[in-house]
């Protein structure tokens, strides 16, 4: 006996076919509407996990870029300040050279000494420069002035350079140079040199000794100029590192974004074709429904 196809067989089958077709249509519609292939974890569990991880990478990159930019701003300030410092050192050099020359008269020397005093104050304000509440040359002790504004003594507990990490899995870079590495050479501070030179210019009564003191000061000044140059090189190196890091972070962002797109986004052409396909399938299922249910033998018996 052949397989009996009963009325209920047809309707059961039809119901399930309509359901399947409708499900396909709904899925295709959702993908087109959201332009995403993954709309919930079960759509692609491992793709979902990949997207979550990629988003974490993206967020990490964003954070690193932000940190790098903050560090860069700070380094910029440090560099500008060092630049001003170097200009002042140049002036000190001129003053000392002038003061040590045999032709300079006592009133001139007095004037030069006064200028040195004011330069010393200017340098102090650079050394103790604050951005917000932080001393830029304080390093990790950024909440304390590197040099006492009154006694001009260096902070007994100097910090070390502040560091910040600007890329995943990289060693942190320095974001500043501490005052003790710029304004102190051989345990001698710039202020000490300036004060000694000013005293010598004003004259202690011993012209030869003063002359030697000034010569010594010029010598010491050479050390400070060199040191400030080294500091600026360090700052420049950090800024360079940041620039390179930002470059790489930018490239990684592009890669991560395109990965996210690859995993998460729908192939639009395919989704649109699926939508049309599933629509047609549903229509044909429905049209067969009207055909198979229209007639039975009873219609032909009279």
């Amino acid at each position: 006996m052949s397989f009996r196809v009963t009325d209920n067989t047809l309707s059961t089958r039809l119901t399930s076919q309509v359901n399947v077709a409708r499900q396909r249509l709904a899925l295709a519609q959702e993908q087109v509407a959201s332009s995403k292939r993954i709309n919930r974890p079960s759509d692609d569990p491992y793709g979902t996990a990949a997207v979550l991880q990629l988003r974490t990478s993206q967020s990490e990159i964003d954070q690193f870029s932000q940190t790098a930019k903050t560090a860069n701003t700070k380094l910029d300030t440090v560099d500008n300040t060092l630049n001003s410092y170097q200009t002042l050192l140049d002036r000190v050099q001129t003053i000392l050279t002038q003061g040590v020359s045999d032709t300079s008269t006592s009133p001139t020397r007095q004037a030069l000494a006064t200028e040195l005093d004011s330069i010393s104050k200017e340098i102090l304000s650079l050394v103790n420069l604050k951005v917000g509440t932080n001393y830029i040359f304080g390093g990790t002790q950024q909440n304390q002035p590197p040099f006492d504004p009154v006694t001009l003594a260096a902070n007994a507990n100097p910090g070390v350079s502040q560091q910040v990490q600007i890329e995943p899995n990289s060693t942190p870079i320095d974001t500043d140079v501490t005052a003790n590495n710029i304004f102190i050479v051989n345990n001698n501070s710039i202020f000490n040199t300036l004060t000694t030179a000013a005293t010598a210019l004003r004259g202690t009564g011993n012209a030869t000794a003063d002359h030697n003191t000034l010569l010594n000061s010029i010598n010491e000044l050479g050390g400070f100029v060199l040191q400030s140059g080294i500091a600026r090189t360090q700052v420049g190196k950090s800024m360079n590192q940041i620039e390179n890091a930002l470059d790489r972070l930018g490239q990684t962002t592009v890669a991560v974004q395109s990965n996210i797109q690859d995993v998460e986004s729908v192939d639009f052409a395919k989704a649109a074709t699926d939508l049309v396909d599933s629509q047609k399938t549903l229509e044909s299922v429905l049209s067969t429904a009207s055909k198979i249910n229209s007639r039975s033998l009873l219609d032909f018996l009279s």
Binding site: D7, T9, P41, P45, R55, Q141, Q163
Partner: protein, 460 residues
């Protein structure tokens, strides 16, 4: 052949055809009745035993039989049980999808990124009170989203448990009705009443019982059906039904199902699907608790190595708000830190307040691959992604299994329909057949009547 015999044959033929028409009508009437098995009149030509007779004695109605294949019915029952289990599983796991969906934004992954990211900001500017405050806000957000996700998981689990309790009641109602029908069928058979429709009903009820509890059913000699659970414990025996009981069991308050005081062994059907889902959701809750506790531990350990803005060593960053061990439910930022952002220990001990190395270590924790949660080692970000993927895979498996199972059930149902289903076309043919037979039998009676008349006229 006597005249009387002719009339008798005619009368029997009429009755047989009429019965055929009735049965056809019954079939047509029940074309859409679930579980109905099509019937047919079993006829046999009648003979009179012991008397030598040249012709037969007309037609006998032997019985009305139902087309039912026990093998297919058994398969249908088993497939219904599978479908019940997978449907329940799919339905009860579906809420996890929304709870863990992060396809847009928000959620635990985002909160993790924000929390660890705020330590990255602190690395660049360790003394900033506003960044410290933002860190505490992000930490509180993370704690909140962990506990709200957990409580939504608990809700999903508890509502599944509610469903289970309802289904247990349903099983008891069905079992009672099967027992009732066992009784009715037995008594109907004793007095010789038809039982086909009652059997169809009972069959349908047993199928429902399978859908709910994956039961086994055996038809006994006395026409009663015994329904048992997987381990052979009886749910229905003759006209007696035994009740399943769902009792809330501490500490979780979830139901355990017992039958006659013993644990009920249910290996299929909706109840099994619901139990599986409850266990799965429980394991996810457990995973989330482990995650929260591992996260809090690692953050705390690193935080302890640091020094805050007041030069004081770092304490616990995360604590349990109710004192016990840290879980996803009770994780929160330590109150002293919450009230005083300067107590975040961002600096290494003795280096100065402007140091951010501890904040940096904390920021790097997000992708540090040596974190351990339960038995899984990896970064917090990858462990959480794995957690979501696992749930997604469980839901997807449940959906795929259900789709396959529905196809199997449809096919099995088609097989049953091929044997037991009513075809209107066939019934239309039967209608014609019995109608023509009835007409012919009536004609035969008329002829017999005329013959009788002729014979009577002979005597006048």
């Amino acid at each position: 052949m006597s005249i009387n015999t002719s009339l008798e044959i005619g009368q029997r033929a009429l009755r047989a055809s009429q019965l055929g028409l009735t049965v056809t009508g019954q079939n047509i009437a029940n074309v859409n009745t679930p579980g109905y098995s099509r019937q047919d009149v079993e006829l046999a030509s009648s003979v009179v035993l012991g008397k030598p007779q040249p012709a037969g004695n007309g037609v006998d109605v032997v019985s009305i039989k139902a087309f039912r294949d026990q093998f297919i019915e058994g398969r249908l029952q088993a497939e219904t049980a599978n479908t019940g289990r997978l449907t329940a599983q799919q339905q009860t796991l579906a809420p996890l999808e929304e709870i863990l969906n992060e396809s847009n934004s928000g959620g635990i992954n985002q909160a993790l990124n924000d929390f660890f990211g705020s330590f990255r900001n602190l690395d660049a500017n360790p003394t900033s009170i506003s960044l410290r405050t933002a860190t505490i806000e992000n930490a509180s957000d993370l704690a909140n989203v962990l506990s709200s996700t957990r409580s939504r998981l608990v809700d999903a689990r508890n509502s599944t448990d509610g469903l289970l309790q309802n289904d247990v009641k349903q099983v008891n109602t069905l079992a009672a009705r099967v027992a009732e029908l066992n009784k009715s069928i037995k008594s109907a058979e004793t007095v010789g009443n038809p039982t086909l429709e009652l059997r169809d009903q009972r069959n349908e009820l047993v199928k429902s019982l399978s859908e709910f509890a994956g039961v086994r059913a055996i038809e006994n000699q006395d026409s009663s059906v015994s329904v048992t659970l997987a381990d052979g414990q009886a749910l229905v025996l003759n006209d007696q039904a035994f009740s399943l009981e769902a009792t809330a069991t501490p500490p979780s308050g979830l139901s355990t199902i017992t039958l006659n005081g013993k644990p009920a062994v249910i290996d299929n059907g909706r109840l099994k699907g619901e139990t599986d889902s409850i266990n799965y959701i429980n394991s996810k809750i457990n995973d989330l608790d482990n995650f929260a506790s591992a996260l809090a531990n690692r953050v705390n350990t690193i935080h302890h190595t640091g020094e805050d803005l007041n030069g004081v060593g770092g304490g616990d960053f995360f604590v349990a708000n109710n004192g016990g061990p840290i879980t996803a439910a009770n994780i929160s930022v330590a109150p002293n830190i919450k009230n005083n952002p300067s107590q975040i220990a961002a600096a290494a001990v003795g280096v100065g307040k402007g140091d951010g190395s501890v904040a940096r270590q904390l920021a790097n924790l997000l992708t540090d691959t040596s974190s351990q949660v339960g038995t899984v080692t990896g970064s917090f970000s990858s462990i959480y992604a794995g957690f979501v993927a696992d749930a997604g895979a469980a839901i997807k498996t449940a959906q795929d299994n259900l789709t396959t199972q529905q196809a199997i059930l449809t096919q099995t149902t088609e097989q049953r329909n091929a044997v037991s289903g009513v075809s209107i076309d066939e019934e239309a043919v039967n209608l014609l057949r019995y109608q023509r037979a009835f007409e012919a039998a009536a004609r035969f009676l008329k002829v017999s009547d005329e013959i009788t008349k002729t014979i009577i006229a002979l005597g006048e």
